[in-house]
Amino acid sequence: MAWQTFAHDADVGVRGSGATLAEAFAGAATALTAAVCDPARVRAHEAVAIACAAPDDELLLVDWLNALVFEMATRHMLFSRFDVSIDGHRLQATAWGEPVAAPRHRPAAEVKGASYCELEVGRQPDGRWLAQCIVDV
């Protein structure tokens, strides 16, 4: 699993890749945390279960990231580890993290939502899976 954030004029792009679709989704989730703070600062102490389903893989990525945004906002948590399984267009996951501690996490910005801009989910020519979109910060 690999992840990165990428540039957008006003907001931030999140991208994950991996040998499977689930790994790519886990990578995109790590990049989502990176839009807020350094994921290495976030301890994987508490587990939150997340499930979503969508008509296609692209909508499923947006739903997955938005489910995380919702849990981050309402639980005041940050996440750093993601155990994801995908069956068809149904996702089940456990996100591991801890409550926001501003002095230690130094969060730069909250994510408002995942957008459909630059939204792409698919298999690359090298066989690896990629999942990305722009998130509004």
Partner: protein, 476 residues
Amino acid sequence: MDTTLLTQRGPFEWELPASGRMRVPGILFASRELVAAMDDKVREQVANVASLPGIVAASYAMPDAHWGYGFPIGGVAAFAADEGGVVSAGGVGFDISCGVRTLHTGLKRADVEAAQARLADVLYARIPAGVGSTGVLRLAAAGMDAMLKGGARWAVQEGFGTAADLSRIEESGCVAGADAAAVSDQAKKRQRDEMGTLGSGNHYLEVQAVAELFDAAAARAYGLAVDDVVVSIHCGSRGLGHQIGTDYLREMVVAAPAAGIALPDRELACAPLDSALGRRYLGAMRAAINCALANRQILTHLARAAFAEVFPGVALPLLYDVSHNTCKEETHIVDGRPRRLFVHRKGATRAFGPGHAELPREYAAAGQPVLIGGSMGTASYILAGAAAAGERAFGSACHGAGRAMSRHEATRRWQGRALVDALAAQGILIRSPSWRGVAEEAPLAYKDVGAVVDAADRAGLAIKVARLSPLVCVKG
């Protein structure tokens, strides 16, 4: 942006002729330099908006336009319900009714400079800002619904601010047609402890001094003189608005094919105005506008308390409050006849000209105050809606400097700590929970706000009234 694809209609007006799926032309208001500096994605997005059903006159871009998602940020478009027009959740965005309000303080620059560090510390202590911060209120179900229906009026009834504030807010602080039942439980849950919070990113509370006046009559009407100190608050509808955007974008993306709408970009997700989904979204979006107005009203109360702690007896009357990310039903003259239109302003400010019925009496001659946020190290501006703006872009103007580079690039170029020190040496005190957040919002990451407001002024969208320079900035 490649300007060869545009036709120059004036020194500050460029047309993107209708072609392909575009139903109307695109019109960009900007200087040659600003247009040239815009990303080509802005042109693509202006064209995509022009292809939506029921769009009237043109798809507009303001001088601060930059690459958004779906609509460009700085995009304006109006739709007619009787022509199959749409309302677009993407055209409003996630941060519904994000806006700016400016308060007088009755203080002069020298007064504040004598207690600047203390004021900065007290404001930072009293204004909840940054990721994970929570407000003074916990809203249960009944209170939530009353807030969503009542907006700033509700906040005043709850003891935040005074009734005199309300006439200085668009729609007198409460937009009609809000439907709390159209707001999801998730959206309400996100808002439960976020009332009276600033948020993060580009949101801020800033203490500013009037540095320069350009229009003496309008400045007088607005009560502004050189060296006067004002407070500007930039924030929106917080988690509630974000979740409403999330909820309805998805619903509209899925429903668009059945409604016969071919989306050139899924982020332009929309629904016919004359549909159950369109009406539900309008009800929820209006509730989010009221949430933003209530939020800024509570923050105003907190700012007043902070100022009173440092300057006992000071009063902070409201100058005005504008919203940026909205869809509003308004009457505009099109081809010589009045029409009811649904005007989307995505990162654009309503800018009604002199004599408009919506304006408070004391501003009727000057036009609506148009509050333009700059960046924390440069300047902000107050403009006045121009009489011509109603005919130019449905009474709209720019909303800020507009980003010139990505957050990535900004953090690569600058370090937050060094920026804060450099600004302090210039007499500007920054208080923020995040160095990286400060770096992402570095002054030079934004366009030259002076060039943006000059273009708005010269294009006839709004008239320059005052330039404000920052003294203290609390960043979320």
